[in-house]
Assembly symmetry: C2
Homo-oligomer: 338 residues x 2
């Protein structure tokens, strides 16, 4: 058997039909223990592996799921990917990587992969739906898709998320509790929903504490290290710079701290900084970053579990699962210098 053995080869050697082999291999109870055993032995001996394309064609499933993110290079997705992968694996699913780079065309491409049988379902972390194709009327909401992290309001997909508003508010309240009054915000790429929510949480906390937000205290970033630096430059060009900064993600917080240090400001001595996400390096950062911890692995696992439910036909009523966050208070925040 130099070529790849197929079911037929096993059938011939076992002196049974291909149907029996197929049944035996799939653990059907319609086969005597004896023949089942013989077939399994033969399969092992021939080093048989079922051809997935043939099986997929016949069963109309690929046993693959598609994980679509904005940027595979972003470390934020790591633990999520890990959670998805582990849960998928357990259920016998492979994970295909999708990377949109925020390109709508690529988004469409991945939806198409769903339709062409490349994958059975999709976990979407890009907050957008591809624009309707001309002459096309695909009912998106009927597709096996779970949205994680982001929000897509137009279709009725299940969502897995965190409460960004509450988490951001909580983070800012921590600064306020420390005694800060002049608190600035380095926002994400507004008007994206997640960035907006975190900004709204900041505003809510300030408002609830009766603190006004001076002009120029809200700076727009794009979640990257570099913008953390440039935003700090903007903030400290103000006549009254802040004593604390809430950054919409950890990367910008890193950049902000870096820039503060270069400007000669001690963190947290002169300026406190809070991040969002709790990247795995935040605790090793100097100073260790106070930040909002997201249960990323859990987000991945939950999203995949939801998808598995859908794929197994259990019609869940498009639930929205909100997972808890926690503020990890570390060394980058302290009371303001008086």
């Amino acid at each position: 058997m130099s070529e790849r053995p197929k079911i037929k080869d096993i059938a011939e050697r076992a002196g049974v039909s291909v149907a029996t082999v197929s049944r035996a291999l799939s653990g059907s109870s319609l086969v005597t223990d004896e023949t089942r055993k013989r077939i399994h032995e033969l399969a092992r001996e021939l080093n048989y592996r079922p051809n997935v394309s043939a099986r997929n064609l016949r069963t109309r499933r690929s046993m693959s799921v598609l994980l679509v993110v904005r940027d595979v290079g972003n470390p934020f997705y790591l633990d999520i990917l890990k959670g998805v992968e582990a849960t998928a694996r357990e259920a016998g699913y492979a994970v295909l990587m999708g990377n949109t780079e925020n390109d709508p065309d690529r988004e469409v491409e991945y939806f198409n992969m769903l339709r062409d049988g490349h994958a059975d379902g999709m976990i979407l972390m890009t907050g957008k739906l591809p624009a309707q194709q001309p002459g096309e009327s695909v009912d998106f909401s009927s597709l096996p898709v779970v949205v994680a992290l982001e929000m897509i309001e137009t279709a009725g997909f299940p969502h897995v998320q965190i409460d960004n508003i509450a988490a951001a508010r909580h983070a800012v309240e921590h600064l306020i509790a420390l005694g800060h009054r002049r608190i600035a915000h380095i926002a994400g790429p507004l008007p994206e929903l997640m960035a907006t929510h975190r900004r709204d949480g900041y505003r809510a906390a300030m408002d609830a504490a009766g603190l006004s937000i001076p002009d120029g205290y809200e700076v727009r970033g794009d979640y990257l290290l570099e913008t953390g630096e440039t935003c700090v430059a903007q903030l400290f060009a103000l006549s009254e710079p802040p004593t604390a900064i809430f950054a919409a993600n950890d990367e910008m917080a890193y950049g902000a701290i870096h820039a503060l240090r270069r400007l000669g400001h001690d963190v947290p001595g002169d300026v406190s900084v809070v991040g969002f996400d709790d990247l795995y390096l935040s605790k090793a950062f100097y100073p260790p970053l106070t930040t909002v911890s997201q249960p990323r692995a859990d987000i991945g696992r939950t999203a995949m579990s939801l998808l598995l439910n859908i794929l197994s036909g259990e019609d869940i009523a498009a639930p929205t699962v909100v997972l808890p966050t926690a503020l990890s208070v570390r060394g980058s925040t302290a009371p303001p210098r008086r």
Copy 2:
């Protein structure tokens, strides 16, 4: 057309045979421009997508590749994944994620996915071959596999790597040039090859400079943040602690710097630290980490290109591509205090 249209549907509407449709859709020149155009229009109209399982079954290719790493959660792989993904995409390949968690069984599983048609080729970054199955004699070396980062000497796979020995040596020479004499090494998980090579580079540099390595100056870590910390504890329990540390990767360097700071040592004032990898955060670290830069995205692209060559039948003679590294000198190294 509520159901998924197939080639047959298009053929009927276009009044041609399925073969013609297939040809037109695959851009064969054996079709008149006119019919090709009509068919393409019809396809768009019906929102047709070819069924990949059927195509894969027929063509015996999956147009997927498998990217197998030790740990999907490790940020080190990010840029590599990005490079692989981009190159794969361009060539029309999808990328399947494989995660072994250093489990040999899972390694076997991924080799099997290659054999069962799940993927056409594999990029392996795990430095091991699965043990031969009993009664089995698969000629591994004939499989379309490219090894990146790691080394597998037993099979004749193409490799994409960096010169770990030279790069490590170069890093240590930098410390020596600064005037350091007591230089310690936090190694990776010896006796793994990469860890060994980096250790050997350290030894070579020390040796070439006529410097001896005191007992206890080589500490074994496992590439994790935490061991960077514990290893520093060990080094500074010595009667003569080092004035410089070469860590086998950035994560351990982060941990080391963290621990040094807690022990009251200034970096680089009291102790210089060099890392290896140049993770994307190393430049934002405090102090910015002096470290060996690996061309990770390029490693990914090159590995995928090599794999594409193999898949297209161009038999490359198992080349080993060695990509250049560069020492990024930043703020974590300085001359020793006198």
